[in-house]
C-alpha cells in the first residue's frame, strides 16, 4: 500500500481522477463534543445567547462539506448530491454526538467531506456555546463507513472510546433514539432526520426552491436550485413546469392545496420571478 497523494519523488500531488469510473460514493463520519450538563440543558431548551444551536451547526456542516476542497489542499471540488447531518444529545454523558453522511456519483470518495462536516459541526457547537462553557472538548472524530470506489467498502469496527449507541448502531443509519432532538425541524430545508438534498451547484443564475413540512417528506427533497433559464416563463407557473421537467415527482406541486411563497410572501402561480428568488412550496398551515 502507498500514499496516493505522494508521487514517486515523495512530493504531494493531486490524484488524477479523470480515468476513474463514476460510481455512487457515500461516506459517514462521526464526532463528539463534551460539555457541562447545564450547557447541554441550555442547548436542548434553546436558551443559549446565539440562538438555535443545532440548526446553525447543521448549516455550517453542510457548507463545510461543500467547501472541503478549499480547506484540504489535495481534495477535489465535488458536486455532492446529498449531505445529511444528525445530532444526538447524550444527557447521561453530557455530550452531543454528531454524524454526517455525504454522497455523490463521481470519481472520488467523499470521506474527507464527511469528516470535514463533522469537524465543523463540532466547532460551530463550540462557538455557539462558548459564552457559557469554555471547557468543552471535541473528540472521537472518525470515519464510520464508506461505500463505492476502487478501494472497496469500509466499515469501522466497534471502537472502544465510542461506546455509545453511535458506534453500536448501524453506521450508515443516522443515530436513532434521540427523537426529541432529531424532530426539532426549526429551519427551512431540513427534514426531521436532517436530510438535505443539494442540487449540483452551478454558476448560472438560479431560483432557490424549498419544500416544507409534509410536502418535503412526500417529495423526499428539501431544497433544489433550478437554473433560471430553464423556466418556460419567469413565473411560479413556469417554475413548476421546469421542476416537473426535471423530475416527474414534482407534478405533486400541481395539487390545489399546495401553497407557494416567493421571497417569503404568499404568492399565486402568476407571480413573476427573477434569478436569486427564494420560492417555497408547502401544505396548508396548521399552527396555533
Amino acid at each position: 500500500m502507498s500514499l496516493t497523494h505522494l508521487n514517486s519523488r515523495g512530493e504531494a500531488h493531486m490524484v488524477d481522477v479523470g480515468d476513474k469510473a463514476e460510481t455512487r460514493r457515500e461516506a459517514t463520519a462521526c464526532g463528539r463534543i463534551h460539555m457541562r450538563p447545564d450547557t447541554l440543558a441550555l442547548l436542548a431548551e434553546g436558551g443559549l445567547p446565539k440562538g438555535d444551536v443545532l440548526a446553525t451547526a447543521r448549516i455550517a456542516a453542510i457548507q463545510a462539506a461543500k467547501r472541503t476542497h478549499e480547506l484540504i489542499p489535495l481534495c477535489h471540488a465535488l458536486a455532492l448530491s446529498k449531505v445529511e447531518v444528525g445530532f444526538e444529545l447524550d444527557t447521561p454523558n453530557a455530550c452531543v454526538d454528531v454524524t454526517a453522511t455525504c454522497r455523490l456519483t463521481g470519481r472520488t470518495g467523499v470521506e474527507m467531506e464527511a469528516l470535514t462536516a463533522v469537524s465543523v459541526a463540532c466547532l460551530t457547537l463550540y462557538d455557539m456555546c462558548k459564552a457559557v462553557d469554555k471547557d468543552m472538548r471535541i473528540d472521537g472524530i472518525c470515519l464510520l463507513a464508506k461505500t463505492g470506489g476502487k478501494s472497496g467498502d469500509y466499515r469501522r469496527g466497534r471502537v472502544t472510546d465510542l461506546e455509545s449507541t453511535q458506534a453500536a448502531a448501524s453506521p450508515m443509519e443516522p443515530p436513532v433514539g434521540a427523537a426529541t432532538h432529531h424532530e426539532m425541524p426549526m429551519i427551512t430545508g431540513e427534514s426531521p432526520e436532517g436530510h438535505i438534498s443539494i442540487a449540483p451547484r452551478n454558476e448560472q443564475p438560479c431560483i432557490q426552491v424549498k419544500f416544507l413540512a409534509e410536502l418535503r417528506e412526500r417529495l423526499g427533497i428539501s431544497d433544489v436550485d433550478i437554473p433560471f433559464e430553464s423556466l418556460t416563463s419567469p413565473t411560479v407557473a413556469g417554475l413548476k413546469q421546469a421542476l416537473e421537467a426535471y423530475d416527474e415527482r414534482f407534478s405533486l406541486l400541481g395539487e390545489r392545496r399546495v401553497l407557494c411563497a416567493v421571497n417569503q410572501v404568499m404568492s399565486a402561480d402568476d407571480m413573476s420571478l427573477t434569478d436569486g428568488d427564494e420560492v417555497a412550496f408547502f401544505p396548508p398551515v396548521t399552527g396555533g
Partner: protein, 150 residues
C-alpha cells in the same frame, strides 16, 4: 411583541410585562393554546411544530398590524412555540391590551383565527399508532372568513 421560540413561556409574566407602568389599559384578554392528548387520533404523546423562519415572523407581524388597524389596542404580545411539545404544554399565547374589553376580546379572537390560517406553522402528531402531519380544518377557514365580511 412577537416571539417564535422553543422555550416555554409564563402567561402571568407576559401579561404583567404588557401592563407594566401603564394606567391607560382597561382590559387584557389572553388566549393560551395547549397541546391536547387527542386530535385526529387518540393517544397523542407528542407533537412537532415546524415553521418557515423569516416568513413566520413576518406573517405574524402582518396579522398583529392588521388587528391594530381594526381595533384600538394598547399592546399585543404573541408567542408561538416550535419544536417538540407534549400534551399539556402551552403552544401559543396571544395577549391583547386595550382601553375597553370589546376591542381586546375581538382582536384576540381575530389574531388567533388569522394565525391558524395564515402563519406558516405545521404540526406533526406522534401517537401510539404512528406519526402523521395534521390536516387543515374547514372550521378554521370558516372562522377566519368571519372577519372578511366586516
Amino acid at each position: 411583541m412577537i416571539s417564535v421560540q422553543t422555550a416555554p413561556f409564563d402567561v402571568g409574566t407576559e401579561q404583567q410585562a404588557l401592563t407594566q407602568e401603564r394606567t391607560d389599559i382597561g382590559a387584557v384578554v389572553c388566549f393560551t393554546g395547549l397541546v391536547r392528548d387527542f386530535n385526529e387520533k387518540p393517544d397523542v404523546h407528542a407533537l412537532t411544530l415546524e415553521h418557515y423562519p423569516g416568513m413566520t415572523e413576518r406573517a405574524l407581524q402582518d396579522i398583529v398590524s392588521e388587528a391594530e388597524g381594526r381595533w384600538s389596542l394598547q399592546g399585543v404580545r404573541l408567542i408561538h412555540r416550535v419544536g417538540r411539545l407534549e400534551p399539556g404544554d402551552p403552544i401559543v399565547m396571544v395577549a391583547v391590551a386595550s382601553a375597553h374589553r370589546r376591542h381586546a376580546f375581538e382582536a384576540c379572537d381575530f389574531i388567533m383565527d388569522y394565525l391558524k390560517t395564515r402563519a406558516p406553522f405545521w404540526k406533526k402528531e406522534h401517537t401510539v399508532s404512528g406519526q402523521y402531519w395534521v390536516a387543515e380544518r374547514d372550521t378554521d377557514i370558516e372562522d377566519a372568513k368571519r372577519w372578511e365580511a366586516t
